[in-house]
Assembly symmetry: C3
């Protein structure tokens, strides 16, 4: 199906269907918008009201495409409703995104991830594939997530954080980190192969996390050590910084009603 | 105004006006050159002799463009004279650049920064917006500058340096770092929320700067500590490394005359 | 020579010669494939069976192109046989790649490097130029290699590693690191100006390497210290992790026959 023939027409934003390529068996909701210079490969579906900005590649083929193109079948790629994928993204085939997925620019998402709803990937984020992401998880710029990672709901990951899956490189059996709901991971932190980080944790900037972290703990340093319970941070000033949902609402499902009220309604 | 209709024609470099989009109210000096595959959005002005290489986006719209395109007005973007913006840059609307602005490839500059003259941004640099930059400041590759930062004249920032604006993430009140004139920031250093770094300082590689630095100080480590006065570096060898303008002239306004003579003429 | 006129036609993969620019004196083997939206500048040669995916720039001109286009001559760029350059690469003029060169996405390779055979550069890798690379060397994502570096055979470099060539920045006399065959460099490590790292070494994550490393050593920390002989790692568990070729074969020339047998045949 070629896009200009698909009955899909009205674009309010500056998308002129200029230099656009659309492969076979592509389903684009009538209310979705596709930018100029995009390439949409086979077997992609894009949900209602989603926007794919300029210069994006959706459904990038896997290696077999180059080595055995005769027999290659592109895995399905599903982008839910209300996505906003900013320009120059490369999204591989075999990914499934929930609704309200958004990105900065130039993100790269390799194959076979599952994302929940309301996920956001910042500019230059590099997702290596085969991972599972919860709802409302966010990366800031230049985050690198290795293969076989698991990231919970409401996790926020700041610039240049890297997840690794290999202790004695190179390896043939990668094992990614797991991060629990609500955890915050500050800039430049490294999570090592197979570590399990609890929920509501805080990882300090530049930390090297090589051991598991219990719920509500704050670790920092290289090698990282337990500093305190996150709920103790700010106590000397009479403040409560964590759990952070008690003081931060923007874009969260508890916006306007408060985290504790929202929890009761869950 | 569409570019090919604008009376702007002669391109010596390989720019064929191939696949070019130019929005409304765009002003391009007759001596400027625009590369193939570029997108220039509304309300951009580009000064004399400036070169925008291939595949650049200038005046990238802000979020309102996607959420309320009917009422969206793109803020003005001003690029001065003698710019050389290398390929694949994304420059948001609402930025103002002085003359002789240059970049490596794939830089991203979000909205509402003011840059002086002779600034350079290295490949993969990521400027988050709402910041002020002096004259002759340079980033090397993959530098990340958070919102609400201030960077002085002749500051040089090396690969993977990150400026942060948040101590207990996430925050609703970001506060960026401030860096004084002539300061050098080595690879992988982190500048924390709201720190004030003086002039002629040196920040060692991988340093984590969480406290203010007086003029002419050298800090290093994580957490960073005062090591010495920068003017003492090299003394044991009978050398003077800092202030660096005494020994480095290439591309600087004191090239050929020396820093001290130049200072007298200021 | 314009590509569609060159007698080069059959493309099995989705490359429609859409929006393609090819300069003068470009030689493309008949079995090679060039993706859409590519720009191939003057004096490039591409070997048999090589694939240049979409949106690549090959032979990117040096600065003289912009400052003195009348007299500018683009240096030769040679890409050997069986390359797979994934989308959005920028390869400068003046580079020479052996056979079986491959990349992730958005790599940038500046001018005047020499690469052996079977090299791989990961997504977002940034090679600054004037360096020499052996056979079977690999970078993972977001590796930054400074000018005037030397990297041996079978070296593997993990995300966010940075090579530097300057102790007291800025400098006018850069001197890059040298890394011996088979060495592994873990995430976030920094190699300092002029260090010499031996063969079969291991550099721990986040290490700051400011002194030379003898063959078969494991260094870690900031500043990095000698931890042990790599051959001692795993001994307590009755395992041998290094030399790693004894336990890792995928994609290596000793695949199927074993490293020691392969060595005998060398």
């Amino acid at each position: 199906m070629v896009y200009p023939d698909s009955g899909f027409v009205t674009l309010n934003v500056k998308f002129n269907q200029r230099n656009l390529f659309i492969g076979k068996n592509v389903t684009i909701a009538a209310s979705a918008k596709i930018g100029d210079n995009c390439t949409i490969y086979d077997n992609v579906s894009i949900g209602e009201n989603s926007i794919i900005a300029n210069d994006c590649v959706i459904g990038e083929p896997l290696s077999g495409y180059y080595s055995d193109v005769e027999n290659y079948q592109n895995p399905a790629t599903e982008i839910g409703a209300n996505a906003l994928i900013r320009s120059h993204a490369i999204i591989y085939a075999g990914n499934r995104f929930g609704d309200f997925f958004s990105t900065g620019h130039r993100v790269i998402v390799r194959e076979n991830n599952v994302f929940g709803n309301h996920c956001h990937l910042g500019t230059f984020t590099d997702i290596q594939g085969f991972s599972v992401f919860g709802n409302y998880m966010r990366t800031h710029s230049s985050v690198h997530i290795c293969q076989h990672s698991r990231v919970g709901d409401f996790v926020m990951i700041y610039p240049f954080v890297v997840f690794t899956n290999d202790k004695y490189p190179p390896t043939t059996i990668p094992q990614g980190p797991e991060v629990g709901n609500y955890t915050q991971i500050a800039v430049n932190a490294v999570l090592h192969r197979g570590v399990k980080v609890g929920k509501h944790c805080l990882i300090g900037n530049g930390s090297s996390i090589a051991m598991d972290m219990a719920d509500y703990t704050f670790f920092a340093g290289n090698p990282a050590k337990l500093i305190c319970d996150v709920r103790d941070l700010g106590q000397a000033k009479g403040e409560t910084y964590y759990p952070w949902p008690l003081r931060f609402e923007r874009g969260m499902p508890w916006e306007g009603i408060g985290y504790e009220n929202w929890l009761k309604g869950e």
